[in-house]
């Protein structure tokens, strides 16, 4: 157990070190979602968005939940990229030739991605606060938001790692990534509530786990516990199912690649 922890700590520190060496990349990773979506998109659509439809005092306050979950989505889907490079340049092989527990590398990646994502979510909430958005459920609400984000993130990171272990080339990986990311966002309640979507889009969006996550995070920010609680309970159920599926698939891909 002590050895397991030693491995995981060392491997996690490696990801942290890599990020800290790539200063520009770090800056853009942290800044991009709030800059592009929250500040620009949020303010751009302030007057175009109908408050009757969004049921929020401002479009930014409506959008905050969406931007948070989008950040979880993007970080999760990109979570396997570094492992993909490790696989391609042989570093993974070097790691796997050492007497580490076979799951350590993967676990370190989960820990790292979840930590970075949580920090980003806090930064987004901070920026939203500058625009007058305060989560009405307070600190406990923020903690719940982080928890939901992590549950969603675990499944997404597992998908990403499964892809990293299965694809033949990294070109394939990034094609699939680009293909998944935007439709997931548009076919969710991130930018527009389901009720305001064209019927077929609203129909598809119901099956998007992102919608469930957003529908729980949004009332935590805007409305309060009474309205949020049923959604929170629901999303935890959905996410347990989602994570179980993704982890199962991920474990299979991992075993095939490393086994």
């Amino acid at each position: 157990m002590k050895e397991y922890w030693q491995e995981i700590r060392a491997l996690t520190m490696r990801w942290v070190r890599r990020l800290s060496r790539e200063k520009f990349s770090m800056l853009f990773t942290l800044v991009q979602p709030m800059l592009f979506w929250l500040i620009f998109f949020g303010n751009l659509f302030q007057r175009a968005a109908d408050m009757q439809v969004t049921q929020a005092s401002s479009y930014i306050s409506f959008l905050t939940a969406g931007v948070i979950v989008m950040t979880v989505l993007n970080n999760g889907l990109a979570g396997g990229v570094d492992l993909l490079f490790d696989k391609e340049n042989g570093f993974l092989e070097r790691l796997m030739s050492t007497p580490i527990h076979r799951t350590s590398v993967i676990l370190s990646r989960f820990i790292f991605v979840m930590t970075i994502t949580s920090l980003q979510v806090l930064v987004i909430l901070g920026v939203a606060w500058l625009f007058g958005v305060q989560p009405v459920t307070g600190l406990l609400g923020v903690a719940t938001i982080l928890f939901i984000g992590m549950m969603f993130g675990v499944g997404l990171t597992a998908i990403s790692m499964a892809m990293a272990f299965s694809v033949k080339s990294h070109g394939d990986f990034f094609s699939v990534l680009g293909f998944l990311s935007l439709p997931m966002i548009f076919l969710s309640s991130a930018l527009v509530p389901l009720a305001a979507m064209p019927g077929w889009m609203g129909f598809l969006a119901q099956f998007n786990p992102m919608t469930w996550a957003i529908d729980a995070v949004r009332p935590l920010i805007l409305h309060g516990w009474a309205e949020a609680l049923p959604h929170v309970v629901m999303v935890i159920g959905v996410m347990v199912l989602f994570d179980a599926l993704c982890l199962y698939g991920g474990a299979r891909a991992f075993r095939r690649a490393i086994g």
């Binding site: 050895e3 030693q6 491995e7 700590r9 060392a10 491997l11 520190m13 490696r14 070190r17 890599r18 060496r21 790539e22 340049n89 042989g90 570093f91 092989e93 070097r94 790691l95 796997m96 030739s97 050492t98 007497p99 580490i100 490393i258 086994g259």
Partner: protein, 323 residues
């Protein structure tokens, strides 16, 4: 001579998608030797290496490392071996020292052991000056040295090297060879793959020539060369119609082992060149058979390779005229 066996490979086979990459391989590696797997790209030597370091499971047969099965006791095997993958397997953002620190934790070294061994290794491979620079600033030779330091970090009983000098300049190659020899001096068994003949010849105590997933020849480079039978004298004859005549005359001379006709002349295997050469020239004179070119050489490892695989290591296609 009976020697302690470090690795025992028995009827090893590995099939990927119905392609047999390794086919019924059996050999032993003795403790304390440098053992080379020599073959062209795609011959199956890297697959064999990956099975030995527990990263691949064999489809059939078994490999035993220091008495431990590579599949059933993989974790124990990993504790006793070091692995040096090909040069690219380096994290460009980490410094040399950080690579070693990371591996120290993965081999579960105590902080005291790690802080004692890491400077020693950096000194050994002459990377002290660059230890705190990110690996992306390293030259090919420096990366290779870092690789070797990483491989030595667990203080392994057996070190596996995958193409240790691939793509290096001549000086770096010689340095790496020195390091590998120094490891043998320290009692480490070394198993390496290579597709350089001179490397196999000069560095390895014993080699296995692998082609098409099978062992074609196994032994010390010198044994293999001697096994070919004698030194080689190649004659290029000006008048091609005289070749048969000359062959018949040369056959009965002393110290001649075998004579074969080639498109341009004769290949003659001789036991002692100082006796054979004058006799051959004499015979040619007597027959007034003009020689355009005489080549004499001891068998090289290329000859061994060609004799056993029917092609040169650089060729991708087997030679049509070879037996």
């Amino acid at each position: 001579m009976s020697r302690a066996v470090a690795i025992e490979v028995s009827h090893l086979g590995k099939t990927y998608d119905k392609v047999r990459a390794v086919d019924d391989l059996s050999f032993q590696v003795y403790a304390g030797e440098i053992f080379g797997l020599l073959g062209p790209n795609g011959a199956g030597k890297s697959t064999t290496l990956r099975i030995l370091i527990t990263l691949l499971h064999p489809t059939s047969g078994s490999a035993t490392i220091l008495g431990m099965d590579s599949v059933k006791e993989a974790d124990r095997v990993r504790k006793t071996i070091g692995y040096v993958p090909q040069e690219r397997a380096i994290d460009r953002f980490l410094t040399g020292r950080e690579h070693l620190e990371l591996l120290a934790d993965l081999y579960h070294l105590s902080p005291e052991d790690a802080s004692r061994r890491i400077p020693q290794l950096l000194k050994l491979v002459e990377l002290e000056q660059q230890a705190d620079r990110p690996a992306k600033t390293y030259s090919g030779g420096m990366k290779r040295k870092l690789d070797i330091a990483c491989g030595l970090l667990p203080d392994p009983k057996i070190l596996f090297l995958d193409e240790p000098t691939l793509g290096l300049d001549v000086q770096s190659r010689l340095r790496i060879w020195d390091h590998v020899r120094a490891m043998r001096e320290r009692g480490i068994t070394v198993v390496m793959t290579t597709n350089y003949l001179d490397e196999a010849d000069q560095l390895c105590d014993r080699i296995a020539i692998i082609d098409g997933g099978r062992i074609k020849a196994l032994g010390a480079p010198n044994e293999l060369k001697v096994g070919l039978g004698g030194d080689l004298v190649s004659l290029t004859v000006r008048e091609h119609d005289r070749v048969e005549l000359l062959a018949a005359a040369v056959k009965n001379l002393p110290a001649i082992r075998a004579v074969t006709t080639t498109p341009t002349g004769l290949d003659i295997r001789v036991d002692s060149p100082e006796k054979a050469l004058p006799a051959i020239l004499d015979a040619a004179n007597r027959l007034t058979c003009q020689l355009e070119f005489i080549d004499y050489h001891r068998p090289r490892l290329d000859d061994v390779f060609i004799a056993h695989t029917g092609r040169s290591i650089k060729d991708d296609q087997p030679k049509a005229e070879s037996p």
